[in-house]
């Protein structure tokens, strides 16, 4: 089943008089359950592409259809709702909320959805953290965790609401190769 379809997606950044074409006429399709890697040199537009798919930015031209929904002409609030209900992000620099513990960070997406009891949220968050091997670190703040552990919390945070699509922008770039392997392994499963 087609989950994501991009056609003729072009993104041009305008900075004063300088126009940078970050993406030109990108077409592709992703089916649900697919694991897709996008590779390219620095500055080739990978982050730009993920931002467009992640409803964080809008294309200059072309259309993006996510789960049958045309993203163009959606209001900011509707886009926020799509992100909340259907998307999970993993960033290169983890970006956990520093004032929240591991389990609170993972609970956050569920609490934003407002459709589960406190207890259910807690149980699901705890289970997901256990799945990524952090059962011992539920109540640690991000600054008390290693880079690899933080990224595993970030993955748990993206996985916990079982989104249709997880977008990960260079999730292993800040990790040593061994930890990076483990993280990729986690995302496969």
């Amino acid at each position: 089943m087609t989950m994501l379809e991009l056609s003729n997606v072009t993104k041009i950044y305008a900075q004063g008089k300088v126009h940078v074409t970050a993406l030109r006429d990108v077409d592709f399709r992703v089916d649900s359950g697919e694991f897709l890697s996008i590779a390219g040199p620095s500055g080739s537009g990978k982050t730009t592409l993920l931002n467009l798919i992640g409803c964080l930015d809008v294309p200059t031209k072309g259309s993006i259809v996510l789960e049958g929904q045309q993203l163009a002409e959606r209001s900011k609030t509707q886009l926020a709702k799509i992100r909340r209900d259907h998307l999970g992000f993993v960033f290169q620099s983890y970006n956990l909320v520093p004032v929240l513990t591991a389990i609170e960070n993972v609970s956050l997406p569920l609490e934003l959805m407002r459709n589960m009891t406190k207890k259910a949220v807690r149980e699901r968050a705890e289970r997901t953290l256990t799945d990524v091997g952090l059962a011992e670190h539920l109540h640690h703040r991000p600054n008390e965790l290693s880079g690899g552990q933080q990224q595993r919390v970030a993955i748990a945070r993206a996985l916990v609401k079982e989104p249709s699509l997880i977008l990960a922008d260079e999730p292993t770039a800040n990790l040593d190769s061994e930890t990076g392997e483990a993280i990729l392994q986690l995302m496969w499963t």
Binding site: T47, N51, G54, L56, D57, K76, T77, A80, K81, I82, R83, R84, D85, L87, F89, F91, Q92, S93, N95, V97, P98, V99, L100, E104, S107, L108, P109, E111, L112, M113, R114, R157
Partner: protein, 408 residues
């Protein structure tokens, strides 16, 4: 859930606790000053009012309009015979006590120096029914018909007088002839009303005889019971029935109009000062939210990427503003309650023995008052001002684009 936003807000306030505490302190200081200054002004007004009623005017007085219109008029041109009124006034239930006074200008000599004073002929028997003057008396009170004088403490000090000294009171009669009275100082008055301490009191009948005035007086003072307004109206209608257009009934507020104007304008100055303090506190809140939003640009981006709406981000920051407002206001109110309890119970003596001059009827110990409207109002205004001050910077923070926020 609102729960997560509140949790984030308070954790973030705690993360920046130094800034949070400073902002709260600024707000607390503003609130504290509002309450304490108001208590002072309230205490001063109350005390001055009490001094005026108990030492100068009584609750209601009958007097010539001319004396009220020009308080510097010390002539005997507008005296009146009060026996016309007394029977009618006595029949009023509202009038519980009544005493006549005759005010005239005089010079007091001790043989070496002299001093201009306001002399007051008082009825030694009925004056204590209306005024509390005797509470502040050292020595004896006046006796009817005697060549006696009770002098204000300030006059006694200036002319170096003690009880049983003899003095000469030089004045003019109703016919403008000079009159010198040989009087014995029987008592000295040290009251909290500076103007009284600059006056001298003599027996009314003796003064009337000496000034050639028969039964005339300058003012009739009354203590009323029940509603001050209905008493005032009843007394007014008695005066009107006498067809004496030159006379009128005055409440103590009307009689002391200058003072009321002063009290009101000092209140206005205070409220201006206080709005400025609140303004400083608002600047603190705006500053705290703007800085917080700047430092947390990336975090805001993450939250928005996770699907938090702009409304929810705004709500989180406004909750922080509320937190600052609540804690700051509560701290300010708490400190003010403690200080004011002390002010109300023990008072302070800000002027020492110095007179404020300018006829301000205040001297000695000053006490605070409990003004719960202001205390509750200051608390609410503190919170409301903080929340309102937080809204615009919070909306700005929530509007930050997540892509920009997340650029690595």
């Amino acid at each position: 859930m609102a729960g997560i936003l509140t949790k984030l807000a308070f954790r973030n306030l705690w993360r920046q606790r130094r800034r949070t505490i400073l902002t709260c302190l600024a707000l607390a200081f503003g609130i504290y000053m509002v309450i304490i200054l108001d208590s002072f002004v309230g205490g001063m007004t109350e005390m001055a009012g009490r001094n005026i009623v108990q030492l100068q005017t009584g609750d209601v007085q009958i007097q010539a309009h001319a004396y009220v219109d020009d308080p510097t008029d010390r002539s005997l041109d507008h005296v009146f015979a009060y026996s016309d009124f007394t029977d009618d006034l006595r029949q009023l239930d509202q009038v519980s006590a009544m005493t006549p006074r005759l005010s005239f200008a005089a010079e007091l000599h001790n043989g070496m120096d002299d001093y201009h004073v306001r002399a007051m002929g008082v009825d030694p028997l009925t004056d204590p029914d209306v005024f509390t003057t005797q509470q502040y008396l050292a020595g004896q009170w006046l006796e009817p018909g005697q060549q006696q004088v009770v002098v204000g403490a300030r006059v006694a000090q200036l002319l170096d007088l003690t009880v049983s000294d003899y003095v000469i009171l030089l004045t003019r009669t109703a016919n403008n002839a000079f009159q010198a009275l040989d009087l014995e100082v029987v008592g000295i008055l040290d009251t909290p009303h500076p103007e009284v301490n600059l006056a001298v009191y003599v027996p009314l009948d003796m003064a009337q005889t000496s000034l050639g005035l028969d039964q005339a007086i300058t003012s009739l003072h009354m203590t009323v019971s029940g509603s001050a307004k209905s008493a005032y109206e009843a007394i007014s209608s008695v005066v009107e029935q006498q067809n004496s257009t030159a006379l009128g009934a005055y409440t103590w507020e009307q009689a002391a109009e200058d003072f009321m104007v002063m009290a009101q304008s000092s209140r206005a100055i205070h409220s201006m000062l206080l709005s400025m303090l609140i303004l400083i506190a608002i600047v603190g809140v705006v500053n705290a939210i703007l800085l917080g939003a700047m430092e947390r640009t990336r975090e805001i981006g993450v939250l928005k990427a996770m699907g938090m709406s702009e409304r929810e981000v705004t709500q989180e920051f406004v909750t922080e503003a509320f937190g600052i407002g609540f804690v700051g206001s509560a701290a300010g109110v708490l400190l003010a309650l403690l200080t004011n309890w002390f002010l109300v119970e023990y008072g302070i003596n800000p002027y020492g023995d110095m007179d404020l001059g300018a006829g301000i009827p205040l001297r000695g110990h000053l006490y605070g008052v409990w003004n719960w409207t202001i205390i509750a109002g200051a608390f609410m205004v503190g919170i409301l001002a903080s929340v309102l001050a937080g809204i615009v910077p919070a909306i700005r923070a929530a509007g930050k684009s997540p892509i920009w926020a997340l650029r690595q």
